[in-house]
């Protein structure tokens, strides 16, 4: 065990800094403000610190470690050139309060990204300011709210979400002050148009939905759903969490959506970093564009008075404030470092982004097929139950371990832990809530056929294990099953020198 707070080196054993520019005794600090007791931090030298974090890293599982089929999270390979680019001083060492003429390259890339995202989603305008998917949802819902206020339709206080929606959807709309109307999905997980019809009225502000839905299925009635919402004057909001499935094949714009958020950390490969940073730009149709948080990157033809840089093709780039902007959702211009990485990622594909989505969908279908095949060979087909019946899935699919639980007392979490012992990250479990004992599997386009074949075999091997073994799993991991109840009952949230 390596613990940061166990390191108690000599004072000043860490990073050696230059001295202050004036003698310490000449630095003026009013006595009342002076810190009396220094923080009880560890003292650790660089060699020890490097070893500590390397030790920690060995106890952590990333895409680089192995297959990471965490449904809904699109855990695809993160190209390393993107990290190299993000460290260049032209992004790492620039300040958001610098004037436009000092950041023409940054503005060029922002403008290109706005354009690219608008094209991919069939939207008219984009802002890159939101820093995560959930913040993108909130931002778009705020834009819709201001749009209605501007039109004088103040009564629109309801947002509709299907019961299979990501938890962030209702949470974001509630944060903006809306009442949430949850509608049940059909047996096969798809949207229930009758249920939708029964709840829309002149108080409907928006419907939030993802397509493909959280079961990995394409909502074939989506255009009709849009019509139903539009008929009562509501807006359609597209949760872009599952955007990786559809680029170049269809778009939220074609489906009738008015606003969309993108998870750049999913579709465009910003590394997930153990929980973040992400980036959650939003795109909107032209009627919502004046309400976007500002500023957004804009351009005009170069004039004689400009001092062009190597970033200026025929245009001068500048920040532009939308007319009825809702203001800011992050103090600066969003996660610029993430935007730059995703720009590098998109450039790798260009118009072939369609190919990326096709491979994501192909891999998901292939894996689903291979799991079914392996189950048949092992005589376990009864336990491979689709979360929802479907001919083809999109970028992910769900399986229900309900029957396994019933027959053998082995639930989705047990299977998940068994997979950890096989050297895999587990799929998403217990989501969506509409599927009993759900496992949600998303392989992404960056996994090879060999990896998928192997995973299918191992998955069935896990199902074949006796229940006792699975209840004991995992046994090969740095720690075994972690007691989360103990954690919640005996809150120990920091190093405080007290041993519990």
């Amino acid at each position: 065990m390596s613990r940061l707070f166990d390191h108690d080196g000599a004072p000043g054993s860490g990073y050696a800094q230059p001295s202050p520019l004036i003698e310490r005794e000449d630095i003026e600090v009013t006595d009342t403000f002076k810190r009396k007791v220094m923080p009880n931090w560890p003292r650790i030298s660089e060699p020890e610190m490097v070893r500590h974090y390397t030790w920690l890293s060995k106890r952590n599982f990333g895409i680089d470690t192995g297959f990471y089929p965490l449904g809904s999270c699109t855990m695809k390979h993160n190209p390393r050139v993107n990290e190299v680019i993000a460290q260049l001083p032209g992004i790492a060492d620039i300040h958001p309060l610098q004037p436009d003429h000092q950041i023409q390259g940054l503005l060029y890339i922002y403008h290109e990204m706005q354009d690219m995202l608008a094209i991919c989603a069939g939207m008219d305008a984009v802002t890159l300011q939101p820093v995560a998917g959930a913040q993108g949802e909130f931002t778009a819902i705020r834009c819709i709210q201001e749009y209605f206020r501007n039109k004088g339709e103040l009564q629109r206080n309801k947002v509709i979400v299907p019961d299979s929606a990501h938890g962030t959807n209702p949470a974001s709309a509630a944060m903006a002050g809306f009442e949430i109307i949850e509608i049940p999905s059909l047996e096969d997980g798809r949207i229930d148009l009758d249920a939708l019809r029964s709840v829309v009225d002149e108080n409907t502000a928006a419907m939030m939905i993802t397509n493909p839905n959280t079961l990995g299925l394409f909502e074939i009635d989506i255009a009709e759903a849009s019509e139903i919402v539009h008929e009562v004057g509501g807006q359609m909001y597209y949760d872009g969490a599952n955007f990786n499935a559809i680029l170049g094949r269809t778009s939220p714009g074609l489906m009738g959506f008015d606003a969309v958020h993108y998870n750049l950390h999913k579709t465009f490969s910003q590394p997930h970093g153990g929980g973040g940073p992400g980036s959650g730009p939003i795109g909107v149709k032209s009627h919502l564009a004046p309400f976007l948080p500002g500023p957004v990157a804009a351009r005009r033809p170069l004039s004689g008075e400009d001092n062009p840089t190597p970033a200026n093709d025929e245009f001068w780039y500048y920040w532009h404030q939308p007319e009825f902007s809702i203001g800011k959702v992050q103090q600066w211009h969003g996660n610029a470092g993430a935007v730059i990485r995703c720009w590098a990622y998109y450039r790798r594909y260009g118009k072939d982004l369609k190919l990326m989505s096709e491979h994501a969908v192909m891999n998901a279908n292939y894996l689903r097929h291979r799991i079914q095949e392996e189950a048949k060979i092992a005589g376990l087909s009864d336990y491979i139950v689709d979360g929802a019946p479907a001919e083809v899935v999109k970028h992910e699919f769900t399986l229900s371990m309900g029957k396994l639980k019933e027959d053998k007392g082995v639930g989705a979490m047990d299977v998940a832990k068994g997979l950890l012992d096989m050297g895999y990250m587990a799929p998403t479990v217990y989501f969506p809530l509409v599927v009993p004992e759900c496992m949600m599997i998303e392989p992404t386009e960056t996994e090879s056929k060999a990896t998928l074949d192997e995973f299918a075999k191992k998955f069935i091997q896990v199902l074949a294990l006796d229940p006792e073994t699975l209840h004991e799993a995992p046994i090969t991991t740095p720690v075994r099953r972690v007691d989360e109840v103990h954690a919640a009952r005996n809150l120990w949230l920091r190093h405080d020198g007290v041993d519990r």
Binding site: I44, K351, V482, E484
Partner: protein, 459 residues
Amino acid sequence: MTDHLPNLGRENEMLAAMGHSSMDDLFVELPDNVRCKEPLALPEAQSEEEILADARRLLGSNIDLGSTVNFLGSGLYRNFVPSSVFQLITRGEFLTSYTPYQPEVSQGMLQAMWEFQSLITELVGLPIANLSVYDGSTAAAEAITCAVRVHARKAEQKNTVYISELIPPDRLSVIQNYTQGSELIIKSMKHDENGHIPLEEWEKASGSCAVYVEQPNPLGIMDQSLFSAKEILGNHTAFIVGIQPVSLGVFEPPGNYGADIVVGEGQPLGSPVTYGGPIYGIFACTQPYLRQMPGRIVGRTIDVDGKEAYCLTLSTREQHIRRHRATSNLCTNETLIAMMGAMHMALLGPEGIETLGLRNLASRQLLQDGISKLSDVELPYGDSQHFNEFVIELPYPAQECLDYLEKFGIIGGLNLSRWYPEWDHRLLISTSDQTSKSDIKILLNHLSKWLTSKSGVVA
């Protein structure tokens, strides 16, 4: 080029295995009216080397702060981050992992975040910290909504919060967006001529749901009135203090003078400026706010064998469980950047954070002393204690001064009319540990030349 698709060229084989003949079969259910009719109107794919060349050209067109003599800060500061931090966070096990939903294979990140929480609580003087929110502005906004949830019932001034009038408009705008859903009334607190909040302003705010002020304030000023604020505000008003974390190497942490919630922009510890993102927001609080706090928090626990282990805890506050009744919609956060902060804090240690604070103080003091000797330049808050930035008032428009300095490769600070329109003769000048004696000399030299040239014109 599309060189990240391992199955490129094997499509037919894989499709055939499934009984399909073409990729179109996998999209067969898409109704005709939603299908793309045209290919994406995007350029050709590029190779890694072409992208790198374009990135170097485009980003090379930006003026990076390191190539200038820089005095721009105003919320983001370029302190030196030791090289080992950058090396370690690009380890794939950290970089390419996600939220630790499976704690058995995520102990590394979980323990690192628990240690981050520990470092932050020690720094700010409060018992609880989460593992970061997006940035300083959203931290402030989330703190206010958290406080309102706690105090809504008992507060005498219903649904009302007070915020210092000096808050930069962009930060205020974030707070307004986050709070408008609950129809909060935001009232403003005034400052006296020293940049301090007078007693009557605190008395006015007493009985509201929350007060949000910053220490040092956005003009770099330390305010002693905060030391007695909690007593005036009382138990039903949350006292929220926004901090610059490096200042706590030398100044008393707000947890020691009654703050209920401490938030702040974590960036000066561990992260480059990066055009304002990704950075990380600090969020720490006392016990009564714990169950209403936003974001993720790690607890230390045991595994089935009784071995030390870590996991996410108190998840029942969060959106994936509570949905529309969650304390926040926060999901993806800034974990990796917070980890950079933890690494930087670890390498500094208690003596190092003090030295870092002193270096910031010293460079500001040296520059401020120099400027005070220039005739025609006023230091409107010169008598107050500052941290690493201060306001100067010029006899001519601040923008002209900045334009002049830029010709000599100097970024002279922030034109304060950007925040407060009537302050068009004022600059906010910031220093950091990267400010050198020669930087200060260069600025003083050119500032004085500009003043001479201007007074010459006037004469």
